[in-house]
């Protein structure tokens, strides 16, 4: 186990800059998720840490060692690939023991280590099978087993769950988390699924176009997104963004809708702002802001509705059972303590 320290890492493909100088500090035993939209450079960053991709600039340290230019095999890391990359010509046991065999470990020792990892992952009965004889979830587990057996300093995961169906994904999510709690190896986990990141990670790094938008604990990102991008990316359904200005102690949209503000933000008057509020922080009220429902979707546990309030679209998530139908007028109440204000120009949080 080790810390991972990434300093001003850059990556160019020819003239194209893909990573623009990134710094991340990862503590020993921490579970870090790298999230961001497709093409933002998550895989590239992970592959640079793994040693599969040369860095254009900057330094990577694992523990005290600078590894930026070491080949992958000397970095003492393990990686789980999106499509698992199991060796098709080896049994599950051989797949898991391959790294140790390369290190010329004693066969008996390999066997015990493989057995132990198989025990953790519930693979004892499958050790003699070949990858093609396994289900998707089982393959996923073998890929993790291969990483565990290594007992490396760092685990790297590149979207390991994206080939699984929704139910299995939730289950494996839990298993990976449990495994991490049990063995405590420093983990870097790439995903574009923010729910995965929120539920599993100690710390989330939000990447966008090769830049870091924000680093923080999941709740920190949720509660205090430092810019519009993070605010829009984290949280599902996505946060409402409404343009307007602060006038006379209240937030007034261009179309004249008045929205509540917390105490002490009046100072931000005089410039274009974006008012952010999460759908789940809006409650139905007997009177308040009125809007006409333009979309109503109920799942039983909650109701997702879009309201048209004076021409502004506001998405709401109601936990209580309301009898709302398309076209109904609904009154809502916004908790001023849970709203977010951003500078429209810079996108930064006020």
């Amino acid at each position: 186990m080790a810390t991972v320290n990434i300093q001003n890492i850059q990556k160019n493909y020819g003239a194209v800059k893909v990573i623009h100088g990134i710094d991340i500090d990862i503590a020993d035993g921490e579970f870090v998720a790298l999230v961001g939209p497709s093409g933002c450079g998550k895989s590239t960053l992970l592959r640079m840490i793994a040693g599969l991709e040369e860095v254009t600039g900057g330094a990577i340290r694992i523990g005290p060692r600078e590894v930026s230019h070491l080949p992958a095999r000397d970095r003492d890391i393990a990686m789980v690939f999106q499509n698992y990359a199991l060796y098709p010509h080896m049994t599950v046991a051989d797949n898991m023991g391959f790294a140790l065999k390369l290190k010329k470990a004693d066969p008996a020792e390999i066997r015990t280590k493989v057995q132990r990892a198989a025990g953790i992952l519930g693979l004892e009965k499958l050790l003699d099978r070949y990858p093609r004889q396994l289900s998707g979830g089982q393959r996923q587990r073998v890929a993790m087993g291969r990483a565990i057996v290594r007992d490396p300093q760092v685990f790297l995961f590149d979207e390991p769950l994206s080939n699984l169906d929704a139910k299995l994904r939730v289950q494996m999510r839990g298993e990976i988390k449990t495994m991490h709690q049990r063995i405590g190896t420093t983990t870097i986990y790439v995903t574009h699924d923010q729910v995965e990141a929120m539920t599993m990670a100690d710390k989330i790094v939000v990447l966008h176009d090769g830049h870091i938008e924000q680093i923080g604990a999941p709740l920190e990102l949720y509660d205090r997104p430092s810019n519009l991008f993070v605010a829009g990316f984290i949280g599902s359904p996505a946060m409402n963004f409404i343009d307007g200005r602060i006038e006379e102690g209240a937030f007034r949209t261009k179309k004249g809708l008045i929205l509540p503000l917390p105490q002490g933000v009046a100072a931000a008057g005089g410039r274009d702002l974006v008012y952010g509020v999460r759908p789940e922080h809006i409650r139905a009220a007997t009177h308040g802001i009125e809007g006409r429902a333009t979309l109503v979707e109920g799942t039983g546990s909650e109701i997702y509705a879009k309201l048209d309030a004076r021409g502004e679209e506001i998405a709401c998530l109601f936990r209580e059972r309301l009898d709302v139908r398309f076209g109904d007028t609904v009154s809502i109440d916004i908790d001023p303590a849970r709203i977010h204000l951003f500078d429209k120009q810079t996108g930064l949080r006020l």
């Binding site: 160019n12 493909y13 020819g14 040693g51 599969l52 991709e53 040369e54 230019h69 080949p71 992958a72």
Partner: protein, 311 residues
Amino acid sequence: MASVSIDNPIDETTERRSKPARLAPNYWPFVMPALLVVSAVIVFPWLFTLWMSVNSWTLGQPRTFIGFANYLRLAQDMRFWESLWHTTTYTVLSVVLPLFFGTLAALVFDAKFPLRGFLRGIFVMPMMATPVAVALVWTMMFHPQLGVLNYLLSLVGIGPQEWIYNQTAVIPSLVLVETWQWTPLVMLIVLGGLAAVPREPYESAEIDGATAWQKFRYLTVPMIAPFLMIAVIIRSIDAIKSFDIIYAMTQGGPGTASETINIYLYNTAFAYYDIGYGSAMAVVFFLIIIALSFVLLMVRARANWSDMEER
């Protein structure tokens, strides 16, 4: 596909890497042995041939440098020009006929019917059979008095032919053997093309009311065109170099009626041991092949099919 995908200009610009990465595994040691062997049996002989071609040298006699005299001699050598003509007719026929029959066969074998795999296996056998053995049996079949071919012709009322024993019939007869042997290769290439053809256009054409012929003409032909072109390229290069069948059956005869460049080259170098002149001929022959390949590859690049056979 592999053997003719060397000229894709798009690949070259997009695939270019910034600089050799230090981390990237070094693959050159894997390539070196083969590169060494291939250069040893290709590059060395070529340098040597070039050098020989500007010398006058018959084995057992002293060698003298004569500059381009061998090439001038070649330009005035009627027998060479004749062999060039023989090569041309032989090559053209040996491309066109297998192309026609091979495409036909591919269309048949692309459909589903009983015993398809087994019959296809038999159909492929001629191209795998040893050419000399094939040539030998055809020679017996071509025999004017005792050959089975003339007997078969007599069954349908055609008089006996002289086949390879006749000055004018010899090249068509040899082409017959060549076609018999290499039609399967064209079939396999086109079959590969047909396998890559997507189903959806056919379904939408069917909905649009296309007839079978229209579907073939406007869908199948354009879609397999790149593969036909590959077949043409491979067949041309093979046919122009054809040696085994011609040599085993006629040695270029009767007289010199079936002497192609390759046969004349063989006779010059290994029957008369005129190494210098033979080398000049080898150089010119190679240039002809390069020119032919170049023209064919240009035609192929022009046609702008490259995106298709990348699949």
